[in-house]
Amino acid sequence: MELLAPAGSLDMLRVAVENGADSIYVGPRGWSRRRDAFELPDDAIRESVRIAHAGGAKLRIAVNTNMQSRELPMLLERMATYVSWDVDGAIMTDVGAIAKVHEQFPFLTIHASIGANILNNEDVRFYRSIGVRQVVADTKLTLNELASRKSDIDVGIEVLIHSNKCYTYLGKCWMSPYHRLERTVDPFGKDLFKGSPNRGGLDHRVCLESWELYQGAQLLEPRVALKNDAFFLVDDIPKLIDLGVHCLKIQGREYSVPLVGRIVRFYRELIDSYRARPQGEPFDLAPWKNRLSSIQSWRDEERSQSTAVLLAEARQPVAARSSG
C-alpha cells in the first residue's frame, strides 16, 4: 500500500519524498484540478520525475481537467513527452481522454481522478473497461462501499485520508464558474477556465459563502451552511489498511511546504506503526489524535486564509478574454 502526497512545487516534492511518501503527484500547468500557481511547468515536471525516482518514490502526473475537444491532441503530445520522462502513472477524468491515452500508452497506469466521481461498482467496471487501473474513491463513500468494491472488482482503490468533504459530489459541481469564470488562454493554447475546478482548477469555493436562505422575498434563515467538513480519517486508517486499499492519498498542493512535510511524516509514521504492531495487539490511536490536532489547526488556518482570498477574487470583475 502506498502513501501518495501532493506537490505544488519542487520544494514540496522534495519535502514529501524526504518525509516518506511512496508516490507524489504533480500537475502540469493548466491541466490539473488546481490553480496554476500550484501546477508545474514542464521542465519542473521532468525534474520532479528525477527527484522522486532518486528518492525511491513514484511520480504521477495529474492531467485531470475536463478539457475541450480541440485540446485533446495537445494532451496526447504532452503525454508522449511525460511518458518518455518515465512518469509512473496519470491521474485523469475525461473518459475520452482516458480511452485515447490508454490506447496510445497501454502500459501506463491510469488512475481515475476524484473528479470522475465514481460512485458505484458498475461505475468502476465502466472505467476499468476503458483502461483505468486505479480509482480514487469519492470522499462520501463508506467503508462498506469500499469493501464491496474491493471484493467484487479487480481494481486499485485509492482513498483520500486528509482532505475536505464538499457539500456536493466532487466533479458534479459548477457553482464556482456560475459566479465567476475567466477565460485565459496560455502561451501553449490551453484554456485555463479560471473559476471552474472541473476545467481549470481554480475553485472560488462559493459554497463557503455566508449564505442567507429565502423563500421568495422572505428571509427564512440569516445564515445557512452548505456543509463542507475537513476529514483526516485517523480512526479509519487501520481499517483501510486491513481492508487492503492500495493507496492512501493526501490532498493539499496549495498548502505551505512545511505543513505538507509534517502531514506526510505524520501519516507515514502512523501507517508504519500500525503495520509494525505485534499481530493481534490493540492499536492505541489516542496519541496519534493528539499529534494530529496541531497539524489540523495549522491546516485549518491556511485553508481559511485561502478561502477568504478565493471568495474575494470571486467578486472581482472578469477581464476580457485574454491570451497569456
Partner: protein, 318 residues
C-alpha cells in the same frame, strides 16, 4: 412530423396529471436528485408505468430519467426502473451515471439511452466512448459553451440535447441541509424541498432543493434560438423538475412558438409577450448559463442592451 423536439422534466404522477403537455414533444419522468422526493417516479414503479403510458397516450415521447449520483444501494431499484422502462416501451432512458449507462446497455439492449448533463461529457472523444457503450443522445455538461458543444456534436456524430430554459443544475449532494429546519419551519420532507427556496448573498443567488443546487436565474435562450437552429440543434429541454404545471405550460408555450419561428425563413424577433411570460416565472432573473463562454449567471443579448453574437455575425455578413 415535427422538425424539432421540445421536452421537459416531471418528477411525479401528480405533477404529470396536472401539467398541460400540449407544447411538448417529450417528457423525462423522474427526479434525479433525491429518492425521497414526493412520490418520485423512480421509487414508485406503478406510477412510472402509468406515467409512461399517459405520456405515450398523449402522443409524446416518454423518457425515464435516473439518479444523478447513484450509490451501490440505489442500483437494485434502478434495475427495476429500467425493467419498467423497457417493458412499458419507454422511448429512452436517461443515464447521468456511467455505471447506470453500463447496466442499461448490457442488461436492456433494446432500450435507447440518452446521456444526461451530470454524466460530464465534455469532449467529442468522451461522447464517442459513450456511443460505443450504447448512448444515442448526449446532453453535454452544462459548463460547455455553444462553440464547444458544436465541436463535440460535429466530432462525435451523436445528437445533442440543449437546455434552453429553466434552472440549470449546478451540483448534487448526498446531504439535504433543509432537513435541519423541518421542526423550526413546521414543514417536513418530502414537501420541504418543493418550497421556492433560494440561498442568496448580495447579488448572488442559487435555487436550493436540498440535495441539489441550481442556478438562481433561469437560463433563457429565447433570443439565441436562431443561433442554435443555425448550428443544427433540434432537441431542446425546458428544465422544470421543481417548477409548477403553470411554468411548464406557459414557458413551454413560449418556446414552442419561438422555436417554430426560429426555424421558419422569416425574420426572428422575441415577442414582448414572450419576454413577459419568462420574466414572470423567473423571480431572480435570466442568464445564459455557460453557452457564451462567460460566467454562468451572466446574460448576453439584446435584452441586456448588448448585441448577441448571432446579431453581430448577421450584421457582419450584411
Amino acid at each position: 412530423m415535427n422538425d424539432f423536439e421540445l421536452n421537459t422534466t416531471i418528477s411525479n404522477l401528480k405533477n404529470l396529471r396536472e401539467t398541460d403537455l400540449s407544447s411538448f414533444d417529450g417528457v423525462y419522468l423522474g427526479n434525479i436528485y433525491c429518492r425521497l422526493f414526493e412520490q418520485n417516479f423512480l421509487e414508485r414503479l406503478d406510477d412510472l408505468k402509468e406515467g409512461i403510458q399517459r405520456v405515450k397516450d398523449a402522443g409524446l415521447l416518454a423518457y425515464v430519467t435516473t439518479y444523478a449520483a447513484p450509490r451501490n444501494s440505489f442500483l437494485p431499484k434502478l434495475r427495476k426502473v429500467l425493467e419498467v422502462a423497457s417493458s412499458a416501451n419507454a422511448d429512452a432512458v436517461e443515464a447521468h451515471n456511467l455505471g447506470v449507462l453500463r447496466i442499461a446497455h448490457e442488461e436492456f439492449p433494446g432500450l435507447p439511452i440518452h446521456v444526461g448533463g451530470f454524466a460530464n461529457v465534455y469532449t467529442d472523444s468522451g461522447a464517442a466512448v459513450l456511443e460505443e457503450h450504447g448512448a444515442r443522445r448526449i446532453t453535454p455538461n452544462y459548463e460547455l459553451s455553444l462553440e464547444e458543444i458544436d465541436e463535440l456534436a460535429h466530432g462525435a456524430n451523436l445528437p445533442t440535447e440543449i437546455l434552453v430554459h429553466g434552472k440549470m443544475p449546478l451540483g448534487i449532494s448526498d446531504y439535504c441541509f433543509l432537513l435541519d429546519y423541518e421542526e423550526k419551519w413546521g414543514v417536513n420532507c418530502p414537501t420541504l424541498c418543493q418550497l421556492p427556496l433560494f440561498v442568496k448573498r448580495d447579488t448572488w443567488a442559487m435555487r436550493s432543493v436540498g440535495k441539489g443546487i441550481m442556478s438562481g436565474k433561469d437560463v433563457c435562450m429565447l433570443e439565441h434560438l436562431p443561433r442554435l437552429v443555425a448550428s443544427g440543434h433540434r432537441t431542446f429541454r425546458i428544465e422544470a423538475a421543481y417548477e409548477t404545471p403553470a411554468y411548464r405550460k406557459e414557458v413551454g408555450g413560449v418556446y414552442r412558438e419561438a422555436i417554430a419561428a426560429a426555424l421558419s425563413k422569416g425574420l426572428y424577433s422575441v415577442a414582448d409577450r414572450w419576454w413577459a411570460t419568462v420574466r414572470e416565472h423567473a423571480p431572480v432573473g435570466l442568464c445564459n448559463g455557460f453557452y457564451f463562454g462567460k460566467t454562468g449567471m451572466e446574460y448576453l443579448g439584446a435584452e441586456s442592451g448588448m448585441l448577441t453574437p448571432f446579431t453581430l455575425h448577421a450584421t457582419a455578413v450584411e
